[in-house]
């Protein structure tokens, strides 16, 4: 992959990828693997982009599809895809956000089913029900109900944690 493509077509949307990958991983190492895999697959699929949707929507779709179908690595079979070696301590520190509420919210999101995670992430990114339905491939009428249910569930999980 050329560094130009990464800088111009992926990096501006890194936020989207990071947010999604965080929701599907539990460690810094997995997160970095998922991030790199998403970037790789965006690059590999770039020729399929037909400009029928925005590039950001395209990035969402690929990120989500890759996260849903990635093969999670076993802990005892760890490979560093990033050249810089990361120590265990650094991994722990780097994975957490500095905002504690955000960490709790992410922990709660990770407790949801994979599809519910996708729905709530897209909702939090202020995507419309129609857009969420298009990205996931579902009926927009059901998204609103599902979001409400997920929010109640998240609230319960968060309350449980706080209390």
């Amino acid at each position: 992959m050329s560094s130009d493509f990464y800088k111009t077509s992926i990096l501006p949307f890194a936020g989207i990828i990071i947010k999604l990958c965080r929701a599907y991983t539990n460690s810094q190492e997995d997160f970095e693997d998922y991030y790199q895999e998403v970037c790789l697959q965006i690059w590999r699929s770039k020729d399929n982009f037909r400009e029928e949707s925005q590039w950001s929507t395209w990035v969402y779709r690929i990120s989500l599809n890759v996260c849903l179908t990635l093969l999670k690595k076993k802990k005892n079979n760890v490979q560093h895809f990033v050249s810089d070696s990361i120590t265990a301590e650094e991994t722990e520190d780097n994975f957490a956000f500095s905002d504690e509420s955000l960490n709790l919210l992410y922990d709660a999101i990770r407790k949801l089913s994979e599809i519910d995670r996708a729905v709530i992430m897209l909702y939090l990114e202020e995507k419309s029900q129609k857009e969420i339905a298009e990205i996931i491939g579902t009926n927009p009428n059901n998204i609103g109900v599902r979001v409400k249910r997920i929010k109640i569930r998240l609230k319960k999980i968060l309350d449980g944690k706080i209390n």
Binding site: Y6, F31, Q36, L40, W58, L64, L102, L105, D116, G137
Partner: protein
């Protein structure tokens, strides 16, 4: 006042360190951990291994005097490789930019198609391999006479009243038919057993995801 999840989300990402992208190095050369790429890689390795094995076995079979086995192996495995190569092309067509439902559905359909085809082929493959082995050794030259014929002569010496059909003992034919029947019956199951060991977890996950999305569609 307690913050809503929307506010936690918005405010959380205002921190400058929240969205720092990890370093990406030499990305294209990394081995993919994506399921489709893994399938492609494993499929290709398998096909190359089958081609190499069938070719080596063909050559060796001539040297050890069982060319029939070698030829049947080579032809059968070549058909298997050609069919699976065509299946592999279907995997290339899966577009990761589709909606999640379409993407998972396409992948699931590809999986089902390849399982169905390979399962069906396995019901023929194992019996053909068995028959190839039997025929190869039956016609193997044993001091100027086919090994099978020599074996029948020995049997006739011990059991002169044994019933023969076209020069083959009936009991031998019955055993052969039984083994072939078992291989036909269990061929598909052996394939599925093998498949589930390697991909059972992935297949289960795919099914769960599909069910979940379908519940949202209904």
């Amino acid at each position: 006042m307690e913050k809503s999840i929307e506010n936690i989300w918005k405010e959380g990402f205002l921190e400058s360190d929240a969205l720092v992208a990890p370093k990406v190095n030499n990305l294209y050369n990394q081995k993919s951990i994506h399921i489709i790429d893994k399938f492609k890689r494993m499929f290709k390795i398998n096909l190359i291994a089958i081609v190499a094995f069938s070719f080596v076995f063909l050559v060796v079979s001539f040297f050890v005097g069982i060319p029939i086995t070698g030829i049947i192996f080579f032809v059968t495995l070549s058909v298997l490789v050609i069919i699976n190569k065509k299946l592999l092309k279907g995997l290339d067509k899966i577009n990761k930019g589709l909606s999640s439902y379409q993407y998972l559905k396409t992948f699931n359909e590809w999986m089902k198609e390849q399982i169905a085809i390979n399962k069906k082929m396995s019901t023929f493959l194992y019996p053909i391999i068995f028959m190839a082995m039997v025929l190869g050794f039956w016609f193997k030259d044993a001091k100027g006479m086919p090994l099978g014929e020599r074996l029948v002569n020995k049997i006739l010496y011990s059991f002169p009243d044994i019933y023969l059909i076209y020069g083959v003992p009936l009991i031998g034919i019955i055993i052969m038919v039984l083994i072939l029947g078992l291989l036909v019956f269990f061929g598909g199951r052996i394939y599925m057993w093998d498949f589930n060991i390697v991909y059972g977890r992935v297949f289960k996950k795919l099914k769960e995801l599909m069910t979940d999305i379908e519940s949202l569609r209904s």
